[in-house]
């Protein structure tokens, strides 16, 4: 390998070439392709040039559909244009892709291939998205590794210009897009040499121009469409030759020679696997190993999948092949084989019909599915496929990598099988906390080793689905040969295992990964003499049996002492280099110091010095622990769920929680993607270092703490004196202060200690201070560990106390409303999340009759990402029913729910009327005319429906049965459409607007973080002017879209803009009004987010400042008011009382711009102040306007 190698991931490799070779780049965020757009945007904002010396124009669109449309327009006007996407995003581009290809327009789309949402969403990699686009007319080029991504990005660009057929260049999402690897870069000179400017000119000549006008995109009729469609065929026929020619020219420039089908293996192979994508790397690694023992296994890598060239495929295969397994990383339910399999078998069968077929007899061709949603594909699985090919009756079709005990398609494999590569590479695995810097430190280590040595390096990072307290597992490999292991480090492979958080010892059997004689490094605050006994038995056993060298360090103490707080990345990285001998220790330490210099130079000298100090301190603080000969521990890694949990919870949820999801067989899953709710309570994560402690003696029982808690861990409840007779000794309760409840009622505010994240917001909001000691509030934080056990017992007792009757509480008063049971609890949202209190509030008020349509985004991830869900139910088994359709369609999805409910209610009413006499006229009439506008009304209706069900069950005929199937819709249902600003302001706005117009009774909760939070902070149309965000690195220059104003324009939509941190009573009132409004309601909820660059312990302060500065006016627009002659608009916040700047500069999203673009920052601050003033005046004027009562139109003639 040349010393010129670089260490990057697949996304950067693609973006690098795409940026160099294009002029217009239209982008939209979607995992795992977002980093490509982010990089392009960043480079453009830094004025980086393409190979023609100009900075490409990068524009973010409102959706992938928009991006494709913009690209189409750019291409038609002669620009070189590209985009990046994945999954659903690619599906949205398909209509334009037909057009772009149909018009023979050169372009390359780079795709980080990802699963399409079906029974569930998945962000991980497979080919179901690209396969969905294979009929568009685009050519398909598949990259199998990071090196190939960079190479093929260029080959694709050069080939498309010559062939005029657009190319979809794809690589596996996450496995390749996010794998960090050492590669030989494609130089700008190579790019320059391969891109033919004459072809660029030719493309420009074909552009639309009024100087030589043409019409393109005509409407054709039956007489000509068919023929015209056939006119492109010669271009497709020529394409494979052109791609090969470009590959040959590329080889001449770089020495890396690719073919449209690349065969690897002996020339006389009898068994061949055909596939594309990163799995091909694992197959190649494995076949080399297998063939050493005399097997004749081959591999055919499909590079150019479309246009499919059977001749080239057959020519590449040895004529000796007897059996072929075609592996597809996709599933087409109902098809008689997956796409690549069918292409191959068609090619082979058709060839066999020729006079001189390639094979003396038709080889057996079988097709199998593997690796869906980044499912592991290991050497053991590859071997199983080759073994299957040896059988006389191999399975057809088959799956590999799962246990299919339903359709019996799966092949079994030997999980202990390893290829030689595992011995030749040095593998290391690190268990870190998401926010402790482990991943970035490991990326840095890979870079150091990649740059300092001749070694090849590979890094792959497995992330948690949680946002708070996430766990990351870093898989690093180093080797003298190219690393083809596109799978995770397997058991007994890792020569270095690091545990960066001692709490993980309770959760992960991490030493299963350790190889004999390996090194185990543990970060622990325990004294050395206590460390051994703190380990579970299985870990002690592994340390002894595998002769593992055991080291410890108190990284937190060192980080703290060096002034780095809880950031232990530098400390742990230094230990890694000290304990492994990949690079001489002193050289490695120097390299870390250099890297630290580079990283922290911009941060400042003090931070830099702290890190440098930490490196030296780490080496001094590293200690070896003598491993005793005998196991002595008395504890084991605990089970995730109790043995008496329901079977699904034990066999599915619990197994996923324990990290054994891969082994769950097909039969355990519901075939339609249904899961039980109420499972987040099983996952006790003990994230908090400190938890709130209630001081009943000074508490005024205002309920604000319950209101602001993002994780629903602090609850209040009312109960009778006698119900606490057997309460645990430390359970706190006092008589309720409110006179409204009379005597004899007790109240308790109880915290779930193991679910609390320690965000401090409840203490922050607590308005009560001890008169004698102002430092003491009615809630105060205290260390969690000493309280954990006691408070868990108290929590358990509290939970088992019966809920106070909903009908006995005033829902419009916060102290009382907060006694309502939350049906959204313990989500995996970020610590201090600004969104979740709104959702919890909705579930408290309406949860037992709530149906939720949830747009894809943060709320669908912390709401619906396995293994557990925070959506839960009450003691009667009622609770929100929740579903996620897509990102873009959520408003329509929710509207559909409403329409269905209304229709069914109407149908139920019709049936009920027809059964009036049989079911009891009085009961029927009462049901049909029931007033369900308050909790008591709903309660009574439920009682009546129960009575009716009972009566119906005894009635003969079909009608009662029909009625029973829809009878529950006679109880008032509350439809909630929940999503973020990326959905509501951008991709879903068209649908949202239509739902406004439709006026049906739905409640829209828009959780406005002013940025695409879930995908990493990209700009939305809600992003305020002057804020930096991804895709607006230079600060957003246009003001935030005023969605409230747009919705109010309809005049029949209830609109509220709320921020509970500024005025909780207004928020509560808005929720009640919105739900009671019989038409469409929109609540735009200000939601501070980590993407704002402010610690969320300041969440409430930020909301308050946003309101006081006028950035976030509080308002309610109730169309009902107009009916009584009142102005429907109520402005609930005062005139801006602090400068916008004072609010903005407390958040890094605004303040950082003053460090990069001070003049623009200054300008934006001035403009934003004007925006604020203008908006306030607009709303003030509107709210102050005398309102004339609507003319009574009842008597008017049509």
């Amino acid at each position: 390998m040349h010393n010129s190698k670089i260490t990057i991931d697949g996304n950067e490799a693609a973006a690098h070439v795409a940026y160099l070779t294009n002029e217009v780049i239209a982008i939209y965020p979607i995992t795992p392709a977002s980093p490509m757009g982010e990089l392009a945007d960043k480079w453009a904002s830094e004025n980086r040039k393409n190979i023609w010396g100009t900075t490409p124009s990068v524009i973010e669109m409102q959706s992938e559909g928009g991006a494709a449309g913009a690209i189409h327009g750019a291409l038609q006007n002669g620009a070189l244009a590209t985009t990046f996407t994945a999954s659903q995003g690619l599906l949205l581009m398909i209509p334009n892709m037909y057009k772009i290809a149909g018009e023979l327009t050169p372009a390359v789309f780079h795709i980080a291939a990802r699963s399409i949402a079906s029974q569930a969403l998945s962000i991980f990699g497979d080919h179901s998205d690209v396969m969905s686009a294979r009929a568009t007319g685009f050519a398909f080029l598949a990259s199998n590794s990071v090196q190939e991504v960079m190479d093929f990005a260029l080959i694709a660009q050069a080939a498309t210009l010559k062939a005029r057929i657009p190319i979809l260049h794809f690589f596996d999402g996450f496995r390749t897009s996010h794998e960090v690897a050492s590669i030989e870069p494609v130089s700008t000179e190579t790019v320059r040499a391969l891109i033919d400017d004459d072809l660029v000119q030719a493309h420009r000549q074909r552009a639309l121009s009024p100087e030589h006008p043409v019409l393109r995109g005509s409407t054709q009729n039956p007489d000509v469409f068919f023929q015209a469609r056939e006119s492109v065929t010669p271009f497709y026929q020529a394409m494979p030759g052109i791609v090969q020619e470009i590959m040959d020219r590329f080889a001449a420039l770089t020495g890396r020679h690719y073919h449209i089908f690349d065969y690897t293996g002996p020339a006389d192979a009898d068994k061949v696997i055909i596939l594309m994508g990163s799995g091909a790397e694992t197959v190649e690694e494995t076949l080399c190993h297998l063939n050493e023992s005399g097997e004749k296994n081959g591999l055919l890598k499909v590079r150019l999948y479309r246009p499919f060239c059977p001749e080239a495929l057959l020519a590449a295969l040895p004529s000796t092949v007897r059996s072929i397994a075609v592996l597809d990383r996709t599933k087409e339910p109902g098809a008689d084989g997956e796409p690549l399999y069918k292409d191959v078998i068609t090619a082979v069968a058709q060839d066999q019909m020729n006079d001189n077929p390639r094979f003396s007899r038709l080889p057996r061709v079988i097709g199998g599915r593997y690796g869906l949603s980044s499912k592991e594909f290991t050497p053991g699985m590859v071997k199983a496929v080759y073994d299957e090919l040896s059988l006389t009756q191999p399975k057809q079709p088959f799956t590999i990598g799962i246990i299919d005990d339903v359709s019996l398609t799966s092949l079994s494999w030997d999980p202990s099988f390893r290829s030689d590569a595992s011995k030749q590479t040095f593998s290391a695995i690190f268990y870190g906390l998401g926010s402790d810097g482990t991943v970035s430190a490991n990326k840095n280590s890979i870079k150091i080793i990649g740059d300092k040595t001749q070694s090849y390096a590979q890094g792959y990072f497995v992330y948690d689905s949680k946002k708070a307290g996430a766990v990351t597992v870093s898989h690093l490999r180093f080797g003298s040969d190219k690393i083809r292991s596109s799978y995770l480090i397997e058991d007994h492979e890792a020569r270095f295992v690091a545990c960066h958080q001692p709490v993980f010892l309770e959760r992960y059997p991490m030493l299963d990964k350790a190889a004999p004689g390996s090194v185990f490094l543990l970060n622990t605050a325990l004294p050395i003499e206590e460390v051994w006994s703190s380990l579970p038995r299985s870990m002690q056993t592994a340390l002894i049996e595998k002769h593992i060298e055991f080291y410890v360090i108190d990284a937190y103490a060192i980080a703290q002492a060096c002034g780095m707080g809880r950031l232990i990345n530098t400390v742990m990285q230094s230990c890694f280099f000290a304990l492994v001998s990949i690079i001489p220790k002193t050289e490695a330490i120097d390299a870390i110091k250099n890297a630290v210099q580079k990283t922290y130079a911009k941060a400042g000298k003090r931070i830099l010095d702290a890190n440098l100090k930490a490196i030296d301190a780490a080496l001094a603080g590293l200690h070896q622990v003598a491993v005793p000969a005998q196991v002595s521990s008395t504890h084991e890694i605990p089970h995730s769920v109790s043995d008496d949990a329901p079977s699904f919870i034990r066999e599915v949820t619990g197994e996923i929680m324990s990290g054994r999801g891969d082994a769950i067989p097909v039969s355990r899953f519901s075939a339609d993607g249904t899961f039980p709710t109420g499972t987040s309570r099983l996952d006790k994560r003990n994230l908090a270092l400190q938890i709130p402690v209630w001081e009943p003696d000074i508490c005024t029982q205002c309920g604000k703490c319950v209101f602001v808690c993002p994780h629903s861990v602090i609850r209040s409840k009312l109960f009778t004196d006698d119900s606490v007779a057997d309460a645990p000794e430390t359970f706190k309760h006092v008589p309720v202060l409110s006179k409204a409840f009379g005597n004899g009622l007790q109240i308790s505010y109880q915290v779930s200690p193991e679910d609390c994240t320690g965000c401090n917001l409840c203490v922050e909001v607590c308005p009560i201070r001890d008169r004698e000691n102002p430092a003491r509030k009615a809630l105060n934080m205290a260390p969690q560990p000493p309280l954990r056990e006691q408070e868990s017992i108290n929590w358990d007792f509290f939970e088992h106390l019966p809920e106070y009757a909903r009908t006995g509480l005033h829902h419009n008063k916060i102290p009382e409303a907060m006694h309502l049971q939350p049906l959204f609890e313990f989500s995996s949202a970020c610590v201090g999340c600004g969104e979740t209190p709104y959702i919890r509030l909705a579930t408290q008020l309406f949860g037992d009759r709530m149906v939720v349509a949830n747009a894809t985004g943060c709320s669908s991830i912390y709401g619906g990402n396995l293994p557990t869900t925070p959506w839960t139910k009450n003691a009667q088994g009622r609770g929100p029913a929740w579903a996620n359709s897509l990102f873009e369609d959520n408003a329509e999805f929710g509207l559909g729910m409403r329409i269905a409910i209304d229709k069914q209610r109407e149908y139920a009413a019709e049936l009920l009327l027809s059964l009036r006499e049989m079911a009891g006229a009085e009961l029927v009439d009462t049901i049909l005319h029931a007033d369900q506008n308050d909790e008591a009304g709903i309660y009574e209706q439920r009682e009546r429906i129960e009575q009716l069900k009972h009566r119906l069950s005894g009635l003969p005929g079909a009608t009662p049965k029909y009625l029973l199937s829809v009878i529950d819709t006679l109880i008032k249902r509350s439809v909630w459409i929940i999503g973020g600003d990326g959905w509501g302001y951008d991709i879903g706005f068209g649908g949202l607007d239509h739902v406004f117009a439709a006026g049906r009774n739905v409640n829209i909760l828009l959780l406005d973080t002013e940025v695409y939070s879930n995908t990493g902070g990209q700009t939305s149309k809600s992003t305020p002017r002057g804020a930096i965000a991804k895709f607006s690195a230079g600060g957003k220059s246009t003001p935030k879209k005023d969605l409230a104003r747009l919705a109010m324009d309809y005049e029949h939509v209830y609109v509220a803009q709320v921020a509970y941190g500024a005025k909780d009573t207004q928020t509560l009132r808005a929720f009640l009004e919105a739900e009671s409004y019989p038409g469409t309601s929109l609540i735009i909820a200000y939601s501070p987010c980590i993407a704002h660059g402010v610690d969320l312990s300041n969440n409430l302060r930020q909301q308050d400042m946003a309101v006081r500065s006028g950035h976030w006016p509080l308002l309610r627009y109730d169309p009902r008011a107009a009916d009584s002659g009142h102005n429907p608009l109520q402005l609930d916040s005062q005139k801006p009382s602090i400068p916008f700047r004072d609010y903005a500069m407390t958040e890094a999203r605004f303040s950082m711009l003053s460090r990069t673009h001070p003049d623009e920052s200054e300008k934006f601050m001035r403009q934003s102040q004007q925006d604020v003033n203008k908006r306030y005046q607009y709303y003030r004027d509107l709210a102050d306007k005398l309102f004339e009562k609507k003319a009574d139109t009842k008597g008017e003639k049509a």
Binding site: A603, A1033, G1093, M1152
Partner: protein
Amino acid sequence: MNSIDLTTDYLGLKLTNPLIASASPLSRSIDSARQLEDAGAAAIVMYSLFEEELRHQEEETARFMIHQEIGFGEADSFLPFDDRFEHGLDQYLNQLSALKNALDIPVIASLNGVSLDGWVDHGKLLQEAGADALELNVYYLSSRIEESGEAIESRYVTLLEALRRQVSIPIAMKLSPYFSSPAHFIKRLDQAGADAVVLFNRFYQPDIDLDTLQVISQLQWSRSADIQLSLRWVALLYGKLNLSLATTSGAHNANDVLKLLLAGADAIQLCSVLLEHGPAFLSTIKEGLTRWLETKEYAAVSEIKGLLSQKQISNPQVFERSNYINLLDGYSRSEGVRS
């Protein structure tokens, strides 16, 4: 009007007049700095390079820009980190250079901090970036009852000495009035190499919000009446030390400026008044100053400087225990009256 000589010596710099724009946000913008120069400012003190602010910026950068990952697969960062990102110090140095390029008047850089931990090193960088002088603003408030006044004073002197070793340009010490013996302390500073003292600084002061029972911090703009503290100490110190004397806090009009000059100030720094009325207001003050000198037939600022300082006046005790003296004087006869 042109016949009046307004020049003054301050910090070894020959200034065209005694009016200096004090450290304020006005120096953050080249435009407003130019307006100050156009309005007649003789020098400009840059906004302060705050030790705490730099530290805050560093921590903010580390927290929100360098360590953004939370371990979530869909997002390893949330805010774009622009390569043009400037460390607060670099930004200050660049602004200093830009001001030097844009202005003809001297630019005085301002360092505000209390620790020896590195930031004194910044002085050298400021000198290299073209600062004509440094103003060292040390506001150290000890809450440790073990720490004596002497120890606190020594801390200031140590800082000054450390900075003196780093730079060759003049150094002004901007002080608070809270010293037991300001005169003696300023003498120590004089001996330790200070070229000027600036009397006196204003600070954020704690207050209590009676609604929330929270302690809050706020900065009040000065008023004209606030010059009296500086006036007294300038008058007391005039002519007794080698270093030059400047005042800050309270000068809002030409009369304030004249009083301070008469008391012995070499230069008068203006802040609140310029923030309140805009940079152009400096010319109004300058005109007022000139007009008064003309009216009173003084040809130069130097003629009135220190005219009413303690050293020059007949009743020097008026600057000391003056209220008490006034009381006594109420009973005194004229010296010309026999018993």
